[in-house]
């Protein structure tokens, strides 16, 4: 006789924000796999309408306490495109540097505090710290270095205030950058230790044929710029985002779900970035990737923890390179002035591409705003992962199955607070 099981987690732990998991299993079949996002809508896009274009980086920074730089960078690049401005040279380099800081702090937090306990069988990082104190210390220390980059360049660690359309309000002193470089040297070593530690975790044998979507830049591992490419051959300018991607409302989520118009679900984030840009990583990072068995490609979402660690190693090295090459520009920002126009931007937030589009009028008033954060793009893929993970683990008792499913969600480091950006909220019981 077919049995029916319902696995529910009403408030998923160790993710950013509030979401729930629901799994319905009838006999040998998973009939429902749902990531519900019940965090209230944020209304940021409506909040931006009527504000001045120069206010966008400060307002959008408030979308997330973990990845404010992603929103600030999306906002400044889009506004600069709207007014026909290109920011280059050392100001561009400083933007890349502050973004490295965000990657380091966000990835370190996820690896040590949110994700690693899953692999080692601990309920949380506090318990894990009893046996793996050194690694928790290393993770916290990495997070501190990432935060420090954001503080030096952004004015403060959370919701930085020093980023503006055209550049920055204040440039860092040489002494501040020198101090950062010292910390980054140590951070890079700690990141490698973290990578080696995580490489020893037991990884479920699970791969999916995702369509990876990420930025691709002619020369760099992508942060602020690039074309939007995919593993299925997509290759578009960021201004074409709307013609290829679509956001849909689903009843069980206060976040819109994004899909590729012609193909459906896709995956953004470290795995996608890594698979599409392995050749843009420096040889030493590629070498580390091979040493820990990730190689040039990885379709196992559980192993994304290794890719995040590799990206921390990369971000530390890139930050050191940028600091070593730094020459103070003439001014902290290039002059800006409003003009009517529309600007698009896409940057690589720690969790994947984050797309912004703004329309402004001749005096710089924002007429419309749309922000597509990474987690809303990954929702459908996370639900598909859940369905497959559960289907392969039906023999597990409920508690173990629940843990396995929660881990499958955490593989993608969802930032639910960022994703919740739609008005209508419907909860199905």
């Amino acid at each position: 006789m077919a049995t029916s099981r319902t696995i529910r987690v009403d408030a998923i732990a160790r993710v950013e924000g509030e979401g729930a998991l629901e799994l319905q299993i009838d006999g040998e079949r998973v009939t429902l796999a749902r990531l519900s996002i019940f965090e209230p809508p944020r209304l940021f896009e409506a909040l931006l309408r009527g504000r001045d274009y120069c206010e966008a980086p400060d307002i959008t920074a408030r979308i997330c306490g973990i990845c404010p730089i992603a929103y600030q960078m999306g906002a400044v690049h889009a506004m600069e495109r709207a007014i026909g401005l290109q920011v280059d040279g050392q100001l561009r380099a400083l933007r890349r540097l502050i973004y490295c800081g965000e990657w380091i702090e966000s990835h370190a937090l996820h690896i040590v505090m949110l994700h690693a306990p899953d692999f080692l069988g601990y309920a949380d990082a506090m318990q894990m710290a009893r046996d793996h104190g050194e690694m928790v210390r290393a993770g916290l220390s990495l997070k501190r270095v990432g935060n420090e980059i954001m503080r030096v360049l952004g004015g403060r660690e959370i919701h930085p205030i020093n980023v503006r359309v055209g550049g920055f309000y204040r440039l860092p002193d040489r002494s501040e950058l020198t101090a950062l470089a010292l910390q980054l040297e140590q951070a890079r070593r700690q990141a490698q230790r973290l990578l080696e530690w995580a490489a020893g975790f037991p990884f479920p044998d699970f791969e999916r044929d995702y369509e990876f979507v990420a930025l691709r830049h002619p020369a760099e591992y992508p942060l602020n710029e690039g074309r939007i490419v995919s593993s299925a051959g997509l290759d578009i300018d960021v201004t074409q985002f709307d013609s290829e991607f679509e956001e849909r409302q689903v009843a069980h989520s206060s976040a819109l779900q994004a899909v590729l118009r012609r193909r459906g679900s896709y995956l953004v984030g470290p795995l996608a970035r890594y698979n599409l840009n392995f050749d843009r990583l420096p040889a030493d990072v590629q070498g580390l990737a091979r040493e820990v068995g990730v190689g040039s490609g990885c379709r196992n979402p559980y192993r994304s923890i290794l890719v995040r660690a590799l990206e921390i190693v990369y971000a530390c090295g890139e930050a050191l390179r940028l600091i070593a090459a730094y020459q103070p520009p003439d001014a902290p920002a290039v002059p800006v002035g409003p003009r009517a126009g529309t600007g698009h931007a896409c940057t690589e937030a720690p969790r994947g591409i984050c797309h912004h589009r703004y329309e402004i009028d001749a005096d710089g008033t924002i007429l419309s705003a749309r922000i597509v954060p990474p987690t809303s793009q990954n929702q459908l893929t996370i639900e598909e992962d859940l369905r497959e993970v559960a289907a392969r683990a039906l023999t597990l008792p409920d508690e173990r199955l629940r843990e396995r499913c929660e881990q499958a969600i955490r593989n993608h480091d969802p930032c639910i607070s960022c994703a919740a950006h739609f008005l209508r909220l419907t909860v199905r019981h």
Binding site: A13, G65, M113, M126
Partner: protein, 170 residues
């Protein structure tokens, strides 16, 4: 005796009425000689870095559900007089839980109890850590502090001043 490195941390959000009592107390004590004061409104994980290098640390936070508005709880969380060191007597522990309830309900960041547990495990608690928790009356968005809690903030600041004087600081 050499002055101890002292720190006052106000936890809370000034835009949420009485949740701003911690930051208010921290601001009342800002500028005291030999005392650093700062405010935090979110992730308690940052506390581990904040108090690194400090010998005597006061945390001031709003509480709910453990007494009438304006009442002040003092819980010593580490130090020579802390009952059970990191594991205060059951009443103290309950108070800590009550204080932290507001932040622990969120998954956005670590709550105070988790941060304390982690600091304990990693041996990163300050030598003396004292929590002042002040019962709030209202946590409405954008509302000012209630009169009774504002008065409690003054009393709390005075009590901390006295404690600082007792150890030769300020």
């Amino acid at each position: 005796m050499a002055a101890e490195a002292c720190l006052v941390i106000g936890l809370g959000n000034a835009a949420r009425a009485d949740d701003g009592v911690g930051p208010l107390v921290a601001s009342l004590l800002a500028g005291l000689a030999g005392v650093r004061s700062l405010c935090r409104d979110a992730d308690a994980l940052a506390l581990l870095d904040d108090w690194a290098g400090s010998d005597l640390v006061f945390i001031v936070d709003a509480a709910a559900g453990a007494g009438p508005p304006g009442s002040i709880h003092r819980v010593q969380l580490s130090g020579p007089h802390a009952p059970g060191s990191m594991h205060p007597a059951s009443t103290g522990h309950a108070r800590v839980a009550a204080v932290a309830a507001a932040t622990a309900s969120s998954t956005h960041g670590l709550g105070l109890p988790q941060a304390l547990a982690l600091a304990h495990t990693l041996d990163r608690l300050p030598r003396r850590l004292i929590l002042y928790a002040i019962e709030g009356a209202s946590f409405d968005y954008g509302a000012p502090l209630s009169t009774v809690v504002r008065a409690a903030a003054q009393r709390t600041a005075e009590r901390i001043r006295r404690e600082l004087r007792a150890v030769g600081v300020h």
